[in-house]
Symmetry: C2
């Protein structure tokens, strides 16, 4: 069977089962609308560690270990750990891989890393290489702030178009068989750049990538909007969400507004929580998918979704050198009743 079904889209020859998920978030996320869906809510986002970076590492390793426990999986039986995060040299993923001692591929596509991991791991299972794979991605508000912006101690004000980096981890266990929903298609994104160079407004930079990948997915597959129960972007927030709807409708004649949502909007209550335009970070789409969305799919309240995390591929150095922000979005189709 030909797996490539368009310029950037592939249909798996066997659907890949999302056996189980685990999510862990910090206190602010734990006060938000999804509080009843997260597996673990930490009241202290330092987890008693001396630095925020070490705390982020603990978010990551604890969540993966909890995933293995709840799915009764020995780490010796996992063929690969694919992971990424936002920190320099993806140090959180590296340290987690060291603790796990599972063969490791580190990935980086910023907040789209989780979907890149789903694509790579699913393809490798489909290709007959792996039996079981774990994919995770993590971010932490306090490490991201000092990595990308300013020391927290400065008390710098965030502009209203900015987004709050989610403190959280999402982790999934993938294999051929299981009781979860299935990954059936993937659309691999290209890097887009519309010359937006404001690192405080990443939703608008990333929106165009989301539009390109969503449009490409429908063009490549021939699917209609009606085929999906939900189209879910990673973390565009309020600004990027509105741009995505408007751009696809006006430029591509694709009206997704009826079924469209964004993990950065779902995770916080923008009216009552001080989160500007919504959530972002590699842990945003990962923790929202692994809790709320996975739960809705297991309950058959959602049966087919297009999950499309987005990533802003900037660095503090590129920002300092006045570069614009390259962005990417990857998409996977996740469904309960795949047609073979």
């Amino acid at each position: 069977m030909k797996k490539k079904i368009g310029k950037q889209t592939y249909k798996f020859s066997l659907p890949i089962n999302i056996n189980d998920t685990c999510s862990r978030v910090g206190p602010i996320e734990g006060e938000g609308p999804l509080k009843n869906y997260f597996h673990y809510i930490e009241q202290d986002d330092t987890l008693n560690e001396k630095t925020f970076e070490k705390a982020e590492h603990q978010f990551s390793i604890k969540t993966v270990m909890n995933l293995l426990e709840k799915s009764s999986t020995k780490k010796e039986d996992v063929d690969i750990y694919v992971a990424g995060d936002l920190l320099n040299q993806i140090i959180t993923a590296n340290a987690t891989a060291r603790d796990l001692s599972i063969p490791f591929w580190g990935i980086y596509n910023a907040c789209a890393s989780f979907c890149e991991g789903l694509q790579i791991a699913s393809s490798m299972i489909d290709g007959g290489f792996f039996e079981k794979a774990v994919v995770s991605s993590t971010s932490h508000f306090s490490t991201a702030e000092r990595q990308y912006r300013y020391p927290l101690e400065l008390g710098t004000q965030a502009p209203p178009v900015s987004q709050r980096t989610v403190t959280g981890t999402g982790a999934v266990l993938l294999s051929k068989n299981g009781n979860g929903p299935y990954i059936t298609h993937m659309t691999i994104g290209k890097v887009m750049d519309y010359n937006q160079d404001d690192p405080n407004n990443m939703g608008s930079a990333m929106a165009i990538s989301a539009c390109d990948t969503i449009y490409t997915h429908f063009r490549d597959t021939g699917f209609n909007i009606d085929d999906y129960d939900m189209i879910l972007t990673g973390d565009l927030g309020k600004v990027g969400y509105n741009i995505t709807i408007d751009y696809l409708k006006s430029q591509k004649n694709l009206d997704i507004s009826g079924i469209y949502n964004d993990c950065g909007l779902l995770i916080y209550d923008l009216k009552s929580q001080d989160v500007m335009s919504g959530g972002s970070g590699a842990g945003c789409s990962a923790s929202v998918f692994c809790s709320y969305i996975y739960s809705l799919m297991k309950e058959k309240k959602l049966n087919k979704i297009l999950f499309c995390p987005t990533g802003a591929l900037l660095s503090p150095v590129s920002t300092g050198q006045k570069d614009s922000i390259p962005c990417i979005a990857h998409a996977v189709t996740i469904e309960n009743n795949p047609t073979l």
Copy 2:
């Protein structure tokens, strides 16, 4: 056919051809022993750019474009670009992917990134997903120094156990068929950590990862040392090279000394060039493989090698917080006459 042939090793069901390669290095590398093998030697390592980071980006994109030209490949026909580098948020790979407009997966395993890319891309071709893939990795002495150590302007002295980051890029074009040597097996590394925390002595930190992956490869495949013409690590330099030989011989009863070499030793003349213990960097194993080694294989002077790049998965923040250095090594078997 079962592809997994041991705990961490896989045999491809069809050998993946390395169609073509391209390499570009800076002036110091261009004065070294491999000067007649590199495709492009730049006399000015700034490439007339205003910053070293922008120069590194130019090394990367120019080399990939040259690869496409010399192999008469249109970028529209390339299904995936897999790339990594050493800079924060792999900004060089991101910017190159933006210029190429080829679907992109960003990877990070430090100086082992090139081999991670070969493993992912080869598996995806074997699995029936991609027809053509480009993998590249890049590093630059002057960006790495200020990223990981000190501003060059400080004139800080390097200790004798340290290594010089290679300024260079290596890029390969992979597909099912072609006239190059074939990738036939891969051993995916685990992250190892022997509590070495000196970022100026990465050869000794990484050596233990190389030993583990090399030993695992022979255990998983049942191959003998005699089956190979060369075992080639990524960039252990003089210190790590000696540790690797000694450790494998004394602890694992595996004497590789007769056929063992290291890209960090091959790229410079340690007697006449001021490079301390040898070369390192994500561009080291990539540029050495894509020039000298590929050339020897095409001329049948080498027919079967185990290529094992190594990566030190530290970050300046983890060093500052007194963490030890997690390391990884991945290996691929590359041969002219694969047995099917």
